[in-house]
């Protein structure tokens, strides 16, 4: 599904990722952990195509395609989804219109029929309910006036609507209380299938108790320092990054 090979990325001339290698198979859930400034968010932005992140070396293959050749919206069309660490507030843009435009853009990219207004409303209400999200929130502009937890639920709502093949969740657990965390985890787990893969970027082991990863990687100083199974996360939680000799990262 996803093959990252010797990926080097610079931001404003400063090298953040220094040779990342990662392979994610279809249906797998991978977690990337690591101290602050290790390049976790940079990896998520490079996957989604954000401007300002220069790939100086290496490649990313996604379903056999060169991901770096695709525009941001094309990547979304191909099934890459990024749940933002800090979802953006967009005043003046109704959530409903935004979600429907998004869904229909992706459907038309895939050559599928657009969803009618009526069907769309039904679909959104159903998804919101399963995330225990008040659908009145969606009458507001995108993320405007949402609490931190509501914003994260909204990210997962978008994910469940768009049904991506590769979901990248950037610190989706941060700032969530336990109920919200469970709801978000349920949303992610509901999408798990042999066709869909997930990349969880997280600081803490906590989320991994709810979304059990197949593999855990530790990113430090712009490289994957070590990889293992879910037990690695538990070990990190117990001993800290320092015990693995990974604390001396520069802030990025």
């Amino acid at each position: 599904m996803l093959l990252i090979n010797n990926l080097h990325v610079s931001v404003q001339g400063k090298e953040i990722l220094r040779g990342v290698n990662l392979e994610i198979g279809a249906g797998e859930v991978h977690a990337i952990m690591g101290p602050n400034g290790s390049g976790k968010s940079t990896l998520s932005y490079v996957l989604s195509g954000r401007e300002g992140y220069d790939v100086t070396e290496g490649k990313i293959l996604y379903n056999g395609k060169n991901l770096l050749d695709l525009d941001i919206h094309e990547r979304a069309g191909e099934g890459v989804f990024l749940a933002f660490q800090y979802p953006v507030e967009i005043p003046g843009v109704s959530s409903m219109n935004f979600l429907r435009t998004s869904l229909n853009s992706i459907r038309s990219y895939r050559g599928e029929k657009e969803v009618s207004a009526v069907d769309f409303l039904k679909l959104v209400r159903e998804k919101a309910r399963s995330l225990e999200m008040d659908d009145k929130l969606l009458q507001r502009p995108v993320n405007v006036g949402f609490s931190g937890g509501e914003k994260k639920r909204n990210e997962v709502l978008q994910m469940s609507l768009l049904e991506p093949y590769l979901a990248v969740l950037d610190e989706t657990d941060s700032g969530l209380d336990i109920d919200a965390l469970k709801a978000v985890a349920d949303g992610v787990n509901a999408l798990r299938s042999p066709k869909r893969s997930t990349l969880l970027i997280t600081h803490y082991q906590r989320l991994l108790g709810y979304i059990v990863p197949d593999y855990v990687h530790v990113l430090a100083q712009g490289k994957i320092a070590t990889s293992g199974t879910k037990e690695l996360a538990l070990e990190l939680e117990k001993k800290g990054y320092e015990a693995l000799g990974l604390d001396k990262t520069e802030a990025a």
Partner: protein
């Protein structure tokens, strides 16, 4: 003591000569015209050293040559798309009233329309002229008063509601290079309600100069929604001035949509003349190329307990330029005044330039007054967020520009007037891919 004497201005000499030549053709008001020409001669035309004209330079306008208005024949089909459906429509072509193109039936008893030319011709010269405009104020009011030829005289009776909007359409015909000094006198009687739209459009290329001065008099408890839609060709010149006077508890909602003109200036002066008068002024200018668009306001709180709000937005592309000058004046003893002003500019290109100048003069102490201005480009974070959801770049930009302008139309009743304005806004925004609304 005399103020600084302007240098002999060849343009004024020119108008002077034309005034002399035209005097016999211009309808009525000869004394008034003469006085106005004297004011013009004494005060000169505005230049950039005039404080209120600092950002808008009229030199090119006064160097250009225009013809006097002539009544070109056009067909209704040529401007059908600018007609607000269901409105009473009154049409002017190249500055002159066209009875044949107008349809203003069913106004009988509620309101009376006549053209300014008719009005001036029948009016007794000795009758006082009902004007509320200060022709001494720097600008083109004195020029307008000395050379006005036609326009709207529209009087709404007391205690009536005119349910259908009234639309005045001022058309510059194709290839016209006419100069027109339009004067509109509109009054709304006590406790009456109406919606009036003034549309200024060009049919094809035209280098016309439209100097329109509209006077609005709102009697007690009158309620007027007044919309100006200026969509002239981008080689036209437009100076549109509105002078409004509001009596007790009168309410004026003014909205100016501007997208035309190589140089356009919309100016509004509102006198809140008695307690509880209320005005809301809004404007949206959308400009590109080398267009220049100026919105200048002057809200005068003469009495206590009046409210005013001003919200102006500009969308600028290419090398265009906008100006917003907003003035709030609170007279002594105008306590409990509530006056707010906001101007926001969205720059879509590096070459665009927006100037914003608020001016608050407050002589009372128990008031709520505020102002603010913002200039910025599209939010890159928001653009990335939208694109990451599968929406292409052009559509993403269009969504954000729509979002920027959307709140200006909020609060407007959900009727065909709002739809009409939205249509022209969308037309300008290119409507790349419609950002479909959920029903």
């Amino acid at each position: 003591m005399s103020s600084v004497q302007p240098n002999p201005d060849p343009t004024i000499e020119n108008y002077d000569t034309r005034f002399a030549a035209l005097r016999d053709q211009l309808p009525g008001a000869s004394d008034l015209r003469k006085t106005a020409m004297e004011v013009l001669r004494r005060r000169g035309l505005p230049t950039r050293s005039t404080e209120s004209w600092k950002y808008t330079d009229l030199r090119h306008l006064f160097r250009a040559e225009f013809r006097s208005a002539s009544n070109n024949k056009i067909k209704r089909a040529a401007f059908e798309s600018y007609i607000l459906e269901g409105s009473h429509t009154i049409v002017f072509v190249d500055g002159l009233f066209s009875a044949g193109l107008s349809s203003a039936e069913e106004l009988e008893g509620k309101a009376k329309f006549e053209s300014l030319a008719e009005f001036l011709n029948r009016k007794d010269e000795r009758e006082p002229w009902p004007s509320i405009v200060d022709i001494e104020k720097p600008g083109l009011a004195a020029l307008n008063t000395s050379l006005m030829r036609d326009g709207v005289v529209f009087k709404i009776a007391d205690g009536v509601s005119i349910n259908r909007p009234i639309q005045f359409i001022f058309i510059m015909s194709e290839n016209s290079a006419a100069e027109m000094h339009l004067r509109n006198l509109i009054s709304v009687g006590q406790n009456s309600h109406a919606t009036i739209i003034q549309t200024y459009i060009s049919l094809g290329p035209s280098n016309s100069f439209c100097n329109a001065l509209t006077e609005l008099v709102l009697d007690r408890d009158a309620n007027l929604r007044h919309i100006i839609h200026q969509g002239l060709s981008d080689s036209s010149w437009y100076i549109g001035q509105v002078a409004a006077k509001l009596e007790r508890s009168a309410n004026l909602n003014n909205f100016v949509l501007s997208s035309g003109g190589r140089l356009a200036r919309s100016e509004i002066t509102v006198d809140l003349n008695d307690k509880d008068a209320n005005c809301s002024l809004k404007g949206l200018a959308m400009v590109r190329g080398r267009q220049h668009c100026d919105n200048t306001t002057d809200v005068i709180h003469n009495k206590s307990h009046c409210r005013s709000s001003q919200s102006y937005k500009n969308v600028l592309d290419d090398n265009s330029r906008t100006v917003f000058q907003g003035r709030i004046f609170v007279a002594p003893n105008s306590q409990k005044t509530d006056a707010h002003q906001m101007s926001r500019n969205l720059l879509l290109s590096r070459g665009a330039n927006a100037d914003s100048k608020p001016e608050l003069i407050i002589h009372a102490d128990d008031v709520k007054c505020s102002h603010g201005a913002a200039v910025g480009d599209l939010d890159q974070e928001a653009l990335f967020y939208i694109k990451s959801r599968g929406i292409d770049s052009l559509t993403a930009r269009s969504i954000l520009v729509h979002a920027f302008v959307s709140d200006l139309l909020e609060g407007m009743p959900e009727d065909n007037v709002k739809g009409f304005l939205k249509r022209f806004i969308n037309l300008w925004l290119g409507d790349v891919k419609q950002f479909k609304e959920v029903a």
